[in-house]
Amino acid sequence: MTTTDATGVAAAHEDVRSPLREFWRKFRRNRTAMAAGLCLLLLAVAAVAAPWIAPYDPAAFDYDRILEGPSVDHWVGTDAYGRDILSRILWGARISLSVGLLSVLLGGVAGVALGLVAGFRGGWIDSLIMRICDVLLAFPGILLAIGIVAILGPGIDNVIYAVAIFSVPVFARLVRGSTLALKRAVYVDAARAIGVRDRLLMVRHILPGTLPSVIVYVSMRIGTSILTAASLSFIGLGAQPPSPEWGAMLADGRSYIGVASHVTFYPGLAIFLTVLAFNLLGDGLRDALDPKLR
């Protein structure tokens, strides 16, 4: 017998692809996700380029133009100090994006690792990790944050740690749940039968199965983290006034809601669009990682 495979037709089109290219090929086809990715890229560029593209100094007061609505001079209006909101949003992207992304990634990595170990090992390790998570979950955020300020002191990097800590238990529980189900899969047994050691088994065979949930949560959590970071800056942890930070802008503008709604609206919109973009991007990622989707 020479050949045994049936699909001669299929065979002609088969060529060798690297997994990365395969991923990129699938991802590229998802137009929504591409658009979202592009938006985020633009935003990142805008954040980096803020000093050059922002029309005003984000901290420059103009007492004659307080709480003005959008106009030719100030495209999205001014705030209670007469500062240009657009410039502040652009500058604020630096802080907000980095806090949102880094804290979630940090917390995500730690949480995923803990959840994997807990779900996979079970027994007392599981109990220990999960009870610690219970306590962390139960610990009110402000209290934890105050504690962190006390221990670490103020500063934007500490905000990132603080917000990351908030995320850890959620990721841990999420991943543990999926792990419990996935570790029963026959292919996990199969991997074991090959001689794959537990650590690799977790990382290579179970972790990818938990990723869809993780990606979804990461993409949502980024928005929450931006807002959480803002509440931290109000207890003196984090971005110090007058650094423009989206969440803080939003919270500050709250008093003007009935009077000058643009003060909250535009930072709110910035957060909304960013979160939307991250979510769409997240969906694109999870789809591109899903082998069953072409």
Binding site: A59, F61, G236, Q240, P241, R254, S255, Y256, G258
Partner: protein
């Protein structure tokens, strides 16, 4: 018909009541609440002027160590107990006894002995001269409980207040206090309202919404930026009253560069006080033209004001050896309003090259970092954005806690670590006598010296803002931030 309909008043407040035992209260809000039910020998009228309530008259000796009061007759507590000298003694002794650990104990800390002369005469003997005693007695902390209630409820008196005031206690759950008309109130024809509900509605926007829907007839405070929302409504009006709340930035005079008065003066010149009022209070604020607000007793407007003058500020700085300015850190509480104020100061001082780092502090952190510091050398505070409301309405409480050389934290609140012998002497004289003329002179001297030394950046005095239904009359928002509702009526 409407004439007979019960008159129910709802007041929207920003916070929860902590307790209704005024001797153990330290927040204005709970004080206002307890004032509906309880009264003291003296009180303040709506203009912060001392008026007698349960006392009819008093005499005092020259050294201000012995006060004798004649009490009002035919007054009964809500529970039927008659009001008399014994009742006063019970309440005062309770407050003065440190063993009871009441938060307002300091009001009567100097009390050595209470002597019931007769049913309606009582003498207070002090362990040291104290000229401002009547002001202290006018403080809500010195209001008088029914002795019977004190005995019945003991430690829980704060949940079961029984006084002589215009309203009687009905209920208090989580965030709502209900009181009702006291039919046997000693002031003729008062009160006019049948039920008053005090509700805590922390969110500003929600409070205004309550007023707009007539779910509440009076709300306070009204944030300056939201005044517009009330102004638009025909049925509503705004109360805009001057307060006794001073806003300032204290500078640590023991630390460089603030140990140089020229630097402190320069900073005072560098700030546009009108802009401050406009930006931080939307114009609802007045000037702080001396170390104490004008509504406090013995206030003296200082003749030479620190008017906004950047050139002068720069010159002074240069003279002091900081031609290019300097860097410093400013502490302050983390409320929106404080942060706004701090950002303003930060921006203003940047004009003369002073670069401020603004660090908002959570309440507890502030106690640890600022108020709890044991030794002046250990103080990390350089500048502190603050505010002070002298709840006794007297110059003494406006100066002594803040600028007295013996009042460094943690004892008092002299976070400027300001010490000046003239000022210290004046403050001590002021408190050692009940002679108004002597006191006035002492406080004049103190204010003048402080103004010259400028341990603070004097920013302003904020206005009290509240919103109310036009139908509500006789309801006052007093300069110390308290409410007076005994004359209130709803049309």
């Amino acid at each position: 018909g409407p004439a007979f309909a019960a008159k129910d008043l709802v007041v929207g407040m920003p916070d929860n009541i902590t307790t209704l035992d005024p001797a153990d209260i330290n927040d204005t809000l709970s004080q206002s609440a307890s004032r509906t039910m309880l009264q003291g020998l003296f009180g303040f009228d709506k203009d912060m002027k001392l008026v007698p309530l349960l006392a009819e008259s008093f005499t005092v000796n020259d050294t201000a160590t012995e006060y004798t009061y004649r009490l009002r007759k035919n007054v009964v507590f809500h529970d039927g107990t008659p009001f008399n000298a014994q009742a006063v003694k019970t309440s005062f002794d309770r407050l003065a006894d440190p063993a009871n650990r009441l938060k307002r104990q300091s009001l009567l800390a100097m009390l050595a002995e209470t002597v019931v002369v007769d049913d309606y005469t009582i003498t207070l003997k002090l362990s040291q001269p104290f000229g401002a005693l009547n002001n202290n007695l006018a403080h809500p902390g010195a209001m008088i409980h029914s002795p019977k209630a004190l005995e019945t409820y003991g430690k829980d008196i704060g949940r079961h207040p029984v006084g002589t005031g215009p309203y009687k206690f009905v209920s208090w759950e989580a965030d709502t206090l209900k009181v009702e008309k006291n039919d046997k109130y000693w002031k003729q024809g008062l009160p006019k309202i049948d039920h008053v509900t005090l509700k805590s509605v922390p969110e500003n926007g929600s409070r205004i919404a309550m007023l707009q829907t007539n779910e509440a007839q009076f709300i306070y405070p009204l944030p300056p930026e939201m005044v517009k929302m009330v102004e638009g409504n025909q049925a509503l009006e705004i109360i805009d009253a001057p307060s006794i709340i001073a806003r300032y930035v204290a500078m640590n005079t023991m630390k460089k560069p603030f140990n140089d008065p020229r630097v402190r003066q320069a900073l005072n010149y560098a700030i546009d006080k009108n802009a401050y009022a406009k930006v931080v209070y939307r114009g609802y604020a007045g000037p702080l033209d001396s170390a104490i607000p004008s509504k406090l007793g013995f206030h003296v407007t200082q003749p030479s004001q620190y008017t906004y003058d950047l050139a002068k500020a720069k010159a002074l700085l240069a003279e002091a050896g900081y031609p290019n300015g300097f860097e410093a850190e400013m502490f302050g509480r983390n409320s929106t309003n404080f942060i706004r104020g701090m950002q303003f100061v930060q921006q203003q001082l940047s004009q003369i090259g002073v670069k401020l780092t603004v660090t908002p502090l959570e309440a507890g952190v502030e106690t640890a970092r600022v108020w709890g510091v044991e030794k002046p050398e250990d103080a990390t505070v350089q500048m502190q954005y603050g505010g002070w409301s002298a709840s006794t309405g007297d110059a003494d409480w406006g100066l002594r806690p803040l600028l007295w050389g013996k009042g460094f934290p943690p004892k008092f609140f002299n976070v400027a670590y300001y010490k000046n012998d003239t000022v210290d002497a004046a403050i001590e004289t002021g408190i050692a006598t009940a002679d108004t003329a002597k006191r006035a002179e002492a406080y004049r001297v103190a204010q003048e010296q402080i103004w010259k030394d400028a341990p603070w950046i004097f920013l302003g005095v904020e206005n009290l803002l509240a919103g109310k239904s036009k139908k509500l009359t006789g309801f006052y928002y007093v300069a110390d931030g308290g409410l007076q509702m005994e004359e209130a009526d709803l049309q």
